[in-house]
């Protein structure tokens, strides 16, 4: 009934169809063999925990595996991330993380960036639910840190 009657209607702004779809069928959730980047991110306050694995070569991400548990927002966000980064160069991934941060904070995002983000724009609904922003950001911040670490090596 997708937020049909009553006060739950506004939930649709947070849980857009795309979000619920990614939540129910997460992309790239299979573990990666012999990953180059392998990290756990968590937010102990809400109990969200994700395991992010990447294979990287020639300056770009060749394979992604993300799985874990968390709320619909954090799971969908992780799945959207997994979908986006596959095949992207480091620079593109960094740029995407930056765009997502700005999107969630309600700052300006260019048309070009919108094109890059695609479905991820659906996460923007979280802006009206400020406590949930952390959920949406969790895997992005983790990925950012992991890549930065990896590049230092």
């Amino acid at each position: 009934m997708m937020g049909g009657t009553s006060g739950l209607g506004d939930l649709d702004e947070l849980y857009e169809a795309i979000i619920l779809d990614h939540y129910r069928s997460p992309r790239n959730s299979a573990p990666v063999d012999d990953p180059d980047v392998d990290l756990e991110v968590n937010n102990p306050f809400c109990g969200d925990e994700f395991h992010i694995q990447l294979k990287v070569s020639d300056g770009s991400v060749s394979q992604v595996g993300i799985n874990g548990r968390g709320c619909a927002i954090s799971q969908a966000s992780a799945s959207l991330l997994a979908e986006l980064v596959e095949g992207k160069s480091y620079a593109e991934v960094k740029a995407a993380v930056d765009s997502v941060r700005r999107l969630l904070k309600g700052e300006e995002v260019t048309e070009e960036e919108q094109d890059l983000l695609g479905d991820i724009e659906a996460l923007g609904g979280v802006r009206k639910f400020p406590v949930r922003i952390k959920c949406a950001l969790l895997s992005w911040v983790g990925l950012d840190d992991a890549l930065t670490d990896h590049l230092k090596k």
Binding site: M1, M2, G3, S6, G7, L8, G9, D10, L11, L14, Y15, L20, P44, F45, C46, G47, D48, E49, R69, G70, C71, A72, I73, F129, R132, C135
Partner: protein, 417 residues
């Protein structure tokens, strides 16, 4: 409760509700259904007015002031201490120490009494269902002193496993610190039995009463506990003030916790002498206004009668357990028997993360808490990292529980569709 059961007047919840201005608020266009009382309770007009009146008419620094306002403020501040002492049947008002909250009360005991009495090879006993504030001070102390921190385990039924306590609490135990009522499971713990055993081995008994003093009659003399800690904000009072009760002789022998202001009798450039109880533990300008407002909260509760408060919550809890157990996919943790628990119900839903459930209910104006409830090890022992929690107080009604139950099934429907 005794034979005069039917002489006890109970209160009218609608009258009570009328005393709480916040209950008129709309949340997302809906009436507020406030079920987050274990986190903090709402405040009646009577308590808010006590604050306003203090600042409009009496405000001054207490003790040692010769002018009228200072005398009045001091009298009101000390009267509030007497009221709180009376509320828990403390033998004398000096055994009531004002702190910021339960957490500070617990830290105070750990940093003074336990710091002086716990040594290498000793042990400290707590339970598996403690709030972080009653775990971490003891973990830290145990590490520092090379003492052992022991846990009384909790069963899957939500009850403490008491069978082994005479082995867990042994002749090397210096302090037993246990929550009276669990803020996650709702369990009312057998603190009398723990106290007896603690005293048998010469240990002191501390009760974390953050979730009991607000909800049931508590008598520190009948319980014979050595220390008892609670927070005003969980019992209609303001934020920023809590209580440490301690037996007079124990408190009197303890070193101070912080230094300065009222806790000092005399200072030279070289040294200082401490003031008497309770001031020895109250450094600097106290939280005068909030102490006085806490006295007003106690008046309000006494007027309802703590027996009645407890009965009201027992009824709500029994009703809620019954209604909620009819919901598909919902798992309630803690004792099944409503008479073994206070008005705190934690639950998980098969297919909705507590966070999403919380957001869904908030759309309907229903405030519950989600997360680890500052009891991570306990929550994890149920193999989850977060749970939803509804907790009740004097202004809650069966109608509100119906709204909670409907809200859960609506939200479940939303995510299932």
């Amino acid at each position: 409760m005794n034979g005069s059961e039917n002489l006890i007047h109970t209160f009218d919840v609608e009258d009570v509700r009328a005393d709480f201005p916040i209950l008129n608020r709309k949340i997302n266009g809906m009436n507020l259904v406030y079920l987050d009382n274990a986190a903090t309770t709402q405040k009646p007009r009577h308590v808010i007015d006590a604050l306003t009146r203090y600042y409009e008419e009496t405000n001054a620094n207490v003790h040692r002031g010769v002018h009228t306002l200072s005398v009045e403020a001091t009298d009101a501040y000390e009267l509030a201490r007497e009221k709180v002492g009376g509320f828990i049947n403390a033998p004398r008002p000096e055994t009531v120490i004002w702190t910021r909250n339960t957490s500070e009360s617990l830290n105070l005991v750990a940093a003074t009494w336990a710091e002086e009495h716990v040594a290498k090879g000793d042990n400290i006993v707590i339970t598996a269902m403690e709030h972080h504030s009653n775990i971490v001070p003891w973990q830290q102390l145990a590490m520092k002193k090379q003492a052992e921190l022991r846990y009384i385990p909790a069963g899957k039924d939500g009850l403490l496993e008491m069978s082994n306590i005479s082995k867990i609490i042994d002749s090397s135990t210096k302090i037993v610190s246990a929550t009276h009522v669990s803020n996650v499971l709702g369990t009312v713990n057998p603190v009398d039995e723990l106290t007896r055993r603690a005293h048998e081995v010469g240990a002191v008994m501390l009760v974390d009463a953050a979730q009991s003093v607000p909800h049931m009659p508590v008598d520190v003399q009948a319980m014979d506990v050595d220390f008892l800690c609670f927070s005003a904000h969980k019992m209609l009072g303001p934020t920023g003030i809590g209580v440490l009760y301690g037996k007079y002789d124990l408190l009197n022998d303890m070193s101070p916790f912080m230094f300065g202001g009222d806790m000092i009798l005399e200072v030279t450039y070289e040294d200082a002498k401490w003031n008497d109880l309770p001031y020895k533990f109250e450094a600097g300008t106290p939280n005068i206004a909030d102490a006085i407002a806490t006295g007003a909260a106690v008046d309000y509760l006494n007027n309802l009668g703590m027996e009645n408060v407890w009965r009201h919550e027992q009824e709500l809890t029994a009703y809620a357990l019954e209604q909620m157990s009819s919901l598909a996919g919902l798992k309630i943790i803690g004792p099944k028997d409503p008479t073994l628990r206070g008005g705190v119900i934690s639950f998980m839903h098969d297919s909705i993360h507590p966070h999403d459930l919380g957001t869904g209910l908030d759309q309907l104006g229903i405030a519950i808490r989600t997360g680890h409830h500052c009891a991570m090890p306990l929550v994890r022992s149920y193999d989850v990292v977060a749970a939803a929690r509804a907790s009740f107080y004097i202004y809650n009604t069966k109608r509100e529980i119906d709204e909670l139950v409907n809200g859960i099934s609506e939200t479940a429907g939303y995510f299932a569709s």
